[in-house]
Every structure is written in C-alpha cells, then in structure tokens.
Assembly symmetry: C2
Homo-oligomer: 222 residues x 2
DNA sequence: GTCTATATCCGGATAGAC
DNA sequence: GTCTATCCGGATATAGAC
C-alpha cells in the first residue's frame, strides 16, 4: 500500500513526494471502507457513506476504486496480509509453555490493535467466505497443519498433555478473536465502555492461564 | 410462532386447522430469511430471494411482513428466545465438574443444531448490535452475573481453581459458537465437507477436557 | 389469502467540465 | 487529480385483480 522506503523520490519530511497524496487517500478510503463494510455488510455498504467517512467526494472513491468489488477485495487482502504477518510462531525446539503463551499473547494483541480488521474477516467467513476459499484451503491449511505437527511432537515427547492439536489452535483463535469481534457484548457484560490496558492484560492473563493449565503446562509468570 | 397445543380448534392430524397455513408460511419465511440475512446482511438481503428460498411469490412475504425490518426483528427475537431457552444451567449445589461439562455440551449441541441462528446472532453483534442493546445490558447481563456468582462460590469453597468467572463463561461461549459461526473455516482445516456425529462428539470432548482441566477439575467420563 | 403490475426510491457507475 | 450532473439497474413497497 505504501511505496518502497528506498524510493529515490522520497524526501526526509515525506512532503511533496509524488504519489504521496495518492497513498494517503488510498489508506483513508480503505480504513473508511472497512468500517462501513463491518457495519452494513458488502451489499449494504454505500460508496457515498464511505466517501463521507473518508471526508472525500464520492467520485474520488470511484477514481481510486472503479468497482466496489475491487475496494472490498483490496481491504480483505490487506487484512489477510496483516494476519499472516504474525503467523510465524511455534517451533519444535521451543519450550511448549513459553511458545504457547507467546502465541496467545500475540493473537490477543492483534485482536485488540485491529478490531475492525478482525470483524471484517469474521463477517466474510460467517457469510460463507465467498472471497477466501482459496486462502482457507491453501495457505492457511498448510500453516495450521505445520503448527499442529509441532504440538503433536511436543505431545509425543511427553512435554504436554495429549490434546487434539488442531482443536487447540482453533480454540486459541476462537477465544482471542472473540474479544475483538464481540466487543459490543463483552464490554456490556464487563460493565465497561471500552477496553483499557488493564482489561487487555487481564484477558491475556486469563486465557494464558486457562489454556496452558488445560494443556498440563505451568503458565509462565508474566 | 405456533398456536397453543390446547387450541380447541386443533385436530389430531393437524390438518384443516384454521391458521395452520399461516403458521407454516411464517416458519418457512423466517427460516428462509435467516439464511438470506446471514449470506447478504440486512441491507443486502433481497425480499425476492427470500421469497424464492421459501418457494413463495414475493408479494406473499410482504403480506406477512409489510416491512423488511419487521421480518428481521422477528427472526432475531426468535433466536434470542431459543438462546434463552437453554440458559438455565449452573446451580451452587451442583458438582462443578458435572455442571460445567453439562453447560459446555449444551452449548455445543445448540451450536451444531442451529448454526444459522448462531451466525445471525453473531452478525448482529459484530455489526454493532443495533437491535440488541437492551437485551445485552438487560436480561443477558443479569443472567451472566448470576452464573458468575455461582462459579465464584465454587471457587470460594475451594472446589475449583481460581479463574475469572466472567471470562470463563465468555470463553465457553466463544469456543462453542465458533464451531457454528466459522464452520466454513474449521471444516476446511479439518478436511471435512460437513460435521458428522463423530466430529461433534470429538469437539465436545475436546472442549470439556481442555476447559475443565484448565479449571483444575477432573473431566467426567462421558 | 394469492399474485401481477407498477410506483418510487436509492445506489453504483459514467461522462465530462474544471 | 477533483468534482457535478446524470444514467440506469435493482430493490422495497403498494395497488388492486382474482
């Protein structure tokens, strides 16, 4: 989405760089679009409202994204890239407790940092994942199979209780993403208006404790 | 949605009962609508397609539900009623392990039996719960507070490990509902086309084992 | 209670001036 | 690169015959 940092045209301040306005507009539009898609769904989302959120005239949105589909798919693609970027955890040599704790915290962090992204991804899957079929049975499946293999190796070596590795990974996703996707519900139940740093810590601690204990591991003191 | 079983007009076979056609049509339309809403969102859902799914002409749908909003809210209301119907678990006198295991299995069962209902509820919450504000901070909040109290009592009596009772309930919801809401993703990862009875058992067993162990309880043999 | 025909509106997309 | 005006398809909703 942003030009290479080695772009010779770049200036120290970032001002006057050709394409800079374009990049900024693209980012603004895509953020606005994500929020709109989450609130109204793909069909229900209106280009006019996306433009309003972005503070631009409607025709400008059409200038950057001639078709609504292109806009949606760009947003989705960016989210998948974001998800993949934090996906490289769990090695066989790692200490199971340390590695799982790190994995859980990384997922919690991602959810709290990018709730809108998490929600849009959830909406896409719940609606039948019409745009993510290839990703689900390709990249993601590979990644999960590999990590499940690591967990299985830990179990075979007697380093943790025998639990279904695939379901363990799924459950970690389910719980961590839930706090982003269902924030409207969870916050009401917690009697808060929004998550603060303390709540985030509390939740990360809780999940680490519950899941690691469930795996017969000693939760590392954070 | 259905007339009282003591309706004097009812016949043993159920045929020719006044209002019977009406009830059947209402059910058909509402099921069709739920599926359509899940796939396309509220705005994106088309009355024409709902009618097609129900095998009725479009004007018939308008006859029973003059406004699209009425239809959506009826469906949502029915789902909330369904959810509430299985909500009365967890008593202080219960054995914690037994009670929690029963609670988890009941939620798993509900998710697998009514995946579309679960998905529509999820969509509503993720989109900001515009139609469920009262429910979330009313009924549901009360119920959760009461159950959290029960769990806390168990903890105080030393009958289970100290874990945050509210987060425990939230996590049980998160994991159980995830299998219905994200079935598209989970099934691809499991390499299945749809859940069978064995998979459902496997998942219920896994969750019971993980969570109860996480609470320092001995999972009851099922 | 069922269905056809139609009024009305809204949103995506385009053309073309600036 | 920005913006105004407009076209046109599609969706909700209604009127009224059967």
């Amino acid at each position: 989405m942003s030009v290479s940092s080695f772009d010779p045209r770049a200036t120290p301040t970032g001002a006057y760089r050709p394409g800079r306005i374009r990049d900024e507009n693209l980012n603004t539009i895509m953020s606005a679009a994500a929020a709109e898609f989450v609130q109204h769904g793909y069909r229900g989302a209106s280009i006019q409202r996306i433009a309003d959120r972005a503070g631009l005239p409607k025709a400008n949105v059409h200038y950057y994204f001639p078709r609504k589909t292109h806009l949606y798919q760009s947003v989705l693609k960016e989210i998948v890239a974001l998800w993949n970027s934090e996906l490289d955890e769990l090695q066989v040599d790692d200490d199971p407790a340390q590695a799982l704790a790190r994995f859980i915290r990384s997922k919690v962090r991602l959810s709290f940092l990018h709730p809108t992204a998490s929600k849009l991804f959830a909406l896409e899957i719940i609606s039948g994942a019409p745009n993510l079929q290839a990703y689900l049975s390709g990249e993601l499946r590979e990644w999960v199979a590999a990590r499940a293999g690591v967990v299985q190796a830990w179990i075979d070596a007697g380093r943790m209780r025998p639990v279904d590795p695939l379901q363990l990974i799924v459950s970690i996703w389910a719980t961590t993403q839930h706090y982003a996707d269902f924030d409207e519900q969870v916050l009401k139940l917690m009697g808060k208006r929004r998550y603060d740093a303390a709540a985030m810590e509390q939740i990360a601690d809780f999940l680490t404790d519950l899941i690691l204990t469930g795996c017969g591991l000693e939760p590392p003191v954070s």
